[in-house]
Amino acid sequence: MGDVILVISVENFIKSLLSSANAVFASKDMLTELDAAIGDGDHGINLDRGFKTVKEKIEGKSYTAFSELLRDVAKALLFSVGGASGPLYGQFFLKMGMKLGSKPEATLEEFANAVKAGVGGVKSIGKGERFDKTMLDVLIPFSEVLSTCVNEKTPCAECLKRAIEAAREGRDETINLIARKGRASYLGERSVGHMDPGAASSFLILEAMCQALLSVETDR
C-alpha cells in the first residue's frame, strides 16, 4: 500500500459516495445542532434527505461514465436538498463530473483536477472565498493539498491522507472565524466559537469518500 498507483473506477466511486452518504446519515443530528447554533438548524436534515435521494438513485445502478454518475448525484442533491447546501453540493458534484467526463476510470491526478473544478463551481455559485466560514474552508485546502501532493508525486494514499488532514484543519479553523456568507453571517462576531456546519459536513463527506477509496486500494 502507499506506492501502488490508485486507479479510481466508476464502480468504486459509487461505493465511496455511498460511504459519504452513510457518514452524513450517522452525523445528521450533529450537523443539525451545529446549524442550530449559528444558522437555522436544518443542515443535517437537509443533507440526510439529499443523500438518501442520492443513495436511492445510484445504489445498485451501473454507470459507465463519471459524468453520468455525478450528474445524477448532482441532480439528486439539487432537486431534493434545497437551502444553501443543495445548490452548493449540487454544483460541486456536477462540475466534478463534467471534468472527469465520460471515462470509466480516473487516476488520482484526474480526480484532483475534478475536485478543483468542483470547488470552482461552489465558489462561483456561492460567491464565496476562503475564510468566509463556509464549506469552502474545507473544500479549498483539501483540493489544494491534494493537487500539490499529486504534482509532487507523493504516494497516492499519502496524498489523500494529507488532503484530509488539511480539510480537518480547515474545518477546525472555522470555529474562530467570523462568518461572512450564509446564514451565520447574520450573527457577525457572535458566530465566532462555533464550527460551521457546512465545513463539518464537507469534511465528513470527503473523509468517508477518501477512506473508501483507500480501503478499495488496500483491498487490491
Partner: protein, 332 residues
C-alpha cells in the same frame, strides 16, 4: 415536540394539500412538482411567482390568488425550495408575458431561484427576479450574505400583484418591485424558539426572562439577547431601528404591518400596534394603511415583527386594489 402533525417528513405536503382543499375554487396543486397555483390562469398577465422555505405560513402559499401571486413554491420547513419547483411553476403559469420571481434574500433562496432562472432562460422564457432584503437587524454589506428578506415581501407581493393584474409589463413590475424593496424596512423580536419538526428540538435556547432582538424568521439569532421588556420598550427599539435606517421622516405616509411570529396571540399584536402608533405619531409619521396579524411566521415562535413601507399615491392605490387569496382578501 408538540405539534399537530402526522410525521415530520409529511408536514409540508399534507399542509399544502389541506390548503388547496380548503380553497379549491381558488387554488390547485401542480400535477408533478410541489407548486401551489392559481386555478384561474386564463388572463394574459405576467406570472408572479414566489417561494421559500415552509414554516412561514401564510407566506407564500396563502398569497396565491387574484391580485397577488400566480404560484408559490414551498420548500421543506425553513429550507428554500429546489429549482425544479420554480421551473415547473413558471412553465405552468407563464402566459407569454414573462415571469417575475420575488425572492427573499437568503443564500439558499437566491441560489435555487437563480438556477431556475438559468434553466428557464435556456428555454427562452423571459424571466426576471427581484430580491427583497428588508431586515434592518442585519448589517448590510457587499461582503456578506446581506440583509434577510422578511415582512417587506408581503407588501411586495400585494402591490406588485395588483399591478400585474392591471396588465403591467415585466419590466414595469420589476421596477415597481424594486421600488417597494427599496422603501420597505422590517425588524423582529422573539420570546421563544421555533421547533423544526424534523429536528424535534427548539432551534435555540432562551431563558424564561429573555428575548432575542432582531430575530430572523428561521429563528436565526438577532442583534442581541436581552431581558424581557415591556411592549412599549420593545416597540421603541424596533421602530427606531427601522425609522432611522431608511430613514423615514416626519410627514411620511406609511403602510405598517405588525406581524405575529406564529405563537403570539392577536391580543398582544394589537397591543403592539397601539405602541407603534403612539411612537410614530410622536415623530410625525402617518400610518395610512395597516395590517395586524400573522402574515409571515416562524412556526410556533412567540414574537412580533414590524414592517414599514413608505407610500406614495400609486402604492396606496395598488394596496387598496382588490385581492382574493386565502390569507389576504378585500374588495371582492
Amino acid at each position: 415536540m408538540k405539534k399537530l402533525i402526522n410525521s415530520p417528513e409529511d408536514v409540508v405536503s399534507e399542509s399544502v394539500e389541506g390548503l388547496v382543499f380548503a380553497h379549491e375554487s381558488l387554488l390547485e396543486l401542480h400535477p408533478s412538482a410541489r407548486v401551489v397555483m392559481r386555478r384561474d390562469r386564463r388572463r394574459e398577465k405576467v406570472a408572479l411567482i414566489s417561494g421559500g422555505g415552509s414554516g412561514h405560513e401564510p407566506l407564500h402559499v396563502g398569497y396565491v390568488g387574484y391580485g397577488m401571486l400566480d404560484a408559490a413554491c414551498p420548500g421543506e420547513i425553513f429550507t428554500s425550495p429546489t429549482p425544479d419547483q420554480m421551473y415547473e411553476a413558471a412553465k405552468a403559469t407563464d402566459r407569454g408575458q414573462g415571469i417575475l420571481f420575488i425572492v427573499k434574500n437568503y443564500t439558499g433562496d437566491t441560489m435555487n431561484f437563480s438556477i431556475a432562472v438559468d434553466l428557464l432562460t435556456a428555454e427562452d422564457y423571459s424571466v426576471e427576479q427581484v430580491v427583497i432584503a428588508d431586515d434592518v437587524a442585519v448589517q448590510d454589506s457587499l461582503y456578506t450574505a446581506g440583509r434577510r428578506g422578511v415582512g417587506g415581501t408581503v407588501f411586495a407581493e400585494k402591490i406588485v400583484g395588483a399591478k400585474a393584474e392591471e396588465g403591467a409589463s415585466l419590466e414595469e413590475l420589476k421596477e415597481l418591485c424594486e421600488k417597494v424593496s427599496n422603501d420597505v424596512r422590517s425588524m423582529g423580536v422573539a420570546l421563544t424558539s421555533p421547533t423544526v419538526p424534523a429536528s424535534g428540538k427548539p432551534t435555540f435556547e432562551i431563558a424564561t426572562d429573555e428575548m432575542e432582538i432582531g430575530i430572523g424568521i428561521h429563528g436565526e439569532p438577532g442583534r442581541e439577547r436581552v431581558k424581557l421588556r415591556t411592549a412599549k420598550e420593545i416597540v421603541e427599539v424596533m421602530a427606531k431601528a427601522i425609522v432611522e435606517d431608511l430613514p423615514f421622516v416626519a410627514g411620511d405616509q406609511v403602510a405598517v404591518m405588525v406581524n405575529g411570529m406564529g405563537g403570539s396571540p392577536l391580543i398582544e399584536l394589537y397591543l403592539v400596534y397601539r405602541e407603534l402608533k403612539n411612537y410614530l405619531d410622536k415623530i410625525g409619521i402617518g400610518i395610512s394603511r395597516s395590517l395586524v396579524g400573522n402574515y409571515i411566521t416562524s412556526l410556533e415562535m412567540q414574537g412580533v415583527s414590524i414592517t414599514l413601507l413608505r407610500l406614495d399615491e400609486e402604492l396606496k392605490r395598488l394596496w387598496d386594489a382588490p385581492v382574493f387569496t386565502p390569507a389576504l382578501r378585500w374588495g371582492m
